[in-house]
């Protein structure tokens, strides 16, 4: 969702501009002590709408940062696949040589590492990458 993010600076700028800009028809001394003006019902409704917008935008912004700082899941998926492929190659050799305990050990170890890699990628990148 890029549009709300693109709108954020505009809203912020508009908000800051409104706070800093002198109101038309006021003197410098009048600006120094702002008068408290009760908002109309229409203005309150407008403000309420902006509050919802700002909350949505804030959530979008935070999720964008989380994505930017997250792991490279494509690369992680490739590495997981390589780990699992290699463990299966070792196990295929172990299957061809039933008495080779050293290779059987590597087969079991490799499969455990493959499972760990699968779990870790699933945990860090989501179930879809499993």
């Amino acid at each position: 969702m890029t549009r709300p993010i693109a709108l954020l600076p505009i809203l912020l700028a508009a908000g800051c501009g409104a706070a800093g800009a002198p109101a038309a028809g006021t003197t410098a001394s009048e600006q120094a002590v702002p008068a408290v003006v009760e908002p109309t019902a229409e203005e309150e409704q407008l403000v309420s709408g902006y509050e919802t917008d700002v909350e949505t935008l804030e959530a979008d912004l935070l999720s964008s940062f989380e994505l930017a700082e997250g792991p490279d899941c494509d690369q992680a998926g490739e590495l997981r696949d390589r780990i699992c492929d290699l463990s299966e190659r070792i196990c295929a050799i172990a299957d061809r040589h039933p008495g080779w305990s050293d290779v059987e050990g590597k087969c079991g170890d490799g499969r455990e590492r493959c499972e760990r890699a699968r779990d870790e990628v699933a945990e860090r990148c989501g179930e879809a990458d499993r």
């Binding site: 989380e66 700082e69 997250g70 792991p71 490279d72 690369q75 992680a76 590495l79 997981r80 390589r82 780990i83 290699l86 463990s87 190659r89 070792i90 050799i93 172990a94 061809r96 040589h97 080779w100 050293d102 290779v103 590597k106 170890d109 490799g110 590492r113 890699a117 870790e120 990628v121 860090r124």
Partner: protein
């Protein structure tokens, strides 16, 4: 050629391209460019299963003198990727002994916990397996697996959000 190597070659060209060279000295940028061209030519040849053309292109790049301006690790990475491609071509051509020789030549360039060394170990394992040396093939696969596992850990460590104060 892997995307990783392509990026590395671009970075290397940028890094050494402006290095001052004696007029007669081989240019580092030229050497890297030739390696890149060899990979591209091999890609085209492999696509039409012309193993001989792929082999020739990669071998010419392998035989070129490495300019002095190229750092030791950059030299290792570029030459290991060439050796890996040569080993893969030989495996595709059914020449396991030549594949084994290329994989070993590549590993003699040095070792690191990276994709280049990992690829060579896999290629050597495949060559050994094809030659019936299953026990040592399993050892190569296991070492490559450990490298890939370390790379996965690094991928997650690099992607982790910064720790709080």
């Amino acid at each position: 050629m892997t995307k990783r190597l392509a990026s590395l070659l671009v970075a290397l060209v940028a890094a050494v391209g402006c290095a001052r060279q004696e007029p007669s000295a081989p240019s580092a940028a030229e050497w890297i460019g030739q390696a890149r061209e060899a990979h591209a030519a091999a890609d085209r040849a492999v696509a039409r299963e012309d193993w001989s053309a792929a082999r020739d292109a990669l071998r010419r790049a392998w035989q070129r003198e490495v300019p002095a301006a190229v750092g030791a690790d950059d030299r290792r990475v570029v030459r290991q990727d060439l050796a890996y491609r040569l080993a893969e071509v030989e495996l595709s051509a059914g020449a396991a002994e030549d594949a084994l020789r290329w994989a070993e030549d590549g590993l003699r360039e040095g070792r690191a916990e990276d994709v280049f060394t990992g690829n060579l170990l896999v290629a050597r394992g495949r060559a050994r397996e094809a030659l019936g040396d299953d026990r040592r093939a399993a050892q190569d696969y296991f070492e490559a697996l450990e490298i890939n596992e370390a790379l996965l850990r690094r991928t997650f460590d690099e992607g982790a959000p910064p720790e709080g104060p």
